[in-house]
């Protein structure tokens, strides 16, 4: 196993003692198959116990270790050292306030996520005896891709529009709303449309597409947003030109 000495530049910020963030460099002996998260763990275990960052699964499932690696939003557990030069810069996710070091404040995203009701709202109440809500493979295929979102917020860090307009609902929340809207068992679209068809909803999106480029689970939020725009436009024309048509 080959080993390489990496200069890991890490953004440090402690709101209790620092007036502004600074970069601190650690020299880390990395194995070739390591990911950036392994290097951070090495720093934490051997060089500096005060370094703060989020992580959990180490296998691109939990979505905790999103950070800017050489300026690009990445999961630290999916960013292989061998794909980088000897100097790697690690910073907290862009567009979010820093809580400490690489840890960002995610309250804004969580509130936006909750506002689109990302859960099944059944069309009708059905007693358990009536059996399960059945679905064909074709119906499943319509939304399955959007269920793969792990809420890692890389798309928010990549989205220039979210950086400019903090009120923007953003890619992941709208893509997830779309996932439930597309579900044949769901009847909550009208409730979600009130939020996602608003000006701060899908209409803030200028279709840059960076969200889909950085998504580690290939959810394609940009595609979901385009579909939401088409559906919301049809809604608008129906509501204004054919008000007598019942939804």
């Amino acid at each position: 196993m080959s080993e390489r000495q990496i200069q890991l530049e890490v953004l440090r910020y402690n709101p209790e003692t620092d007036s502004e963030p600074r970069l601190q460099t650690y020299s880390v002996p990395c194995l070739n198959e390591w990911v950036v998260l392994d290097a951070l763990n090495y720093v934490k275990d051997n060089l500096d116990t005060t370094l703060s960052y989020r992580w959990s699964c180490h296998m691109a499932v939990c979505g905790s270790c999103g950070m800017m690696i050489n300026g690009e939003p990445k999961l630290a557990c999916k960013a292989f050292i061998r794909e980088y030069a000897d100097q790697i810069r690690v910073e907290p996710l862009a567009n979010f306030p820093i809580e400490r070091d690489l840890v960002t404040a995610v309250e804004d995203f969580i509130a936006k996520l909750a506002s689109v009701k990302p859960y099944l709202i059944p069309k009708e109440d059905k007693p358990i005896e009536a059996g399960e809500f059945k679905q064909t493979p074709t119906e499943l295929k319509k939304y399955k891709q959007y269920t793969l979102c792990i809420n890692c917020m890389l798309c928010y860090a990549a989205c220039p529009q979210y950086g400019l307009v903090p009120e923007f609902l953003g890619p992941a929340a709208i893509a997830l709303a779309h996932r439930y809207n597309q579900d044949s068992r769901d009847g909550g679209r009208d409730q979600r449309q009130e939020v996602i068809a608003s000006h701060e909803g899908v209409w803030e999106c200028s279709f840059v597409g960076a969200c889909s480029e950085v998504c580690p689970k290939h959810v394609d939020p940009a595609g979901a947003l385009q579909q939401v725009k088409i559906a919301s436009t049809i809604d608008w024309y129906k509501e204004h030109l054919m008000p007598w048509v019942k939804k």
Partner: protein
């Protein structure tokens, strides 16, 4: 939160985008052919004038020009935004007024044929 009225312009943008995506390559190709002196008989002045004189032809020409104009207007608005010009209200008003003017002019010029 109130629902946005942006679907009015976005709907025209999307429809115009679909039309121009299909027609623009054809226009480029035909222009190229014309430049090389290969003009099919079907594209002589008399034929095209007859096409534009028919009400169905007028409708088609109007649809293509009207939607392309609104597509271009919205595209310019977004491009300005991407270039960092943030006076959206002014930019939006300017491009949409131009598109509306173009639409009205198209309407009247077609009526005169």
């Amino acid at each position: 939160m109130a629902k946005s009225n942006k679907p009015i312009v976005w709907g025209l943008f999307a429809a115009g985008g679909t039309i121009t995506a299909f027609l623009l390559p054809v226009v480029v190709l035909l222009t190229l052919f014309a430049a090389l002196g290969m003009t099919p008989d079907l594209f002589t002045y008399e034929y095209l004038h007859a096409f534009a004189a028919n009400w169905l032809g007028k409708l088609v020409i109007f649809g293509v020009i009207f939607l392309s104009l609104w597509h271009a207007a919205h595209r310019l608005r977004i491009t300005m935004h991407d270039f960092g010009l943030r006076q959206d209200l002014w930019i939006a008003t300017t491009v949409y007024v131009l598109a509306a003017l173009g639409t009205i002019m198209t309407f009247f010029y077609l009526l005169r044929i």
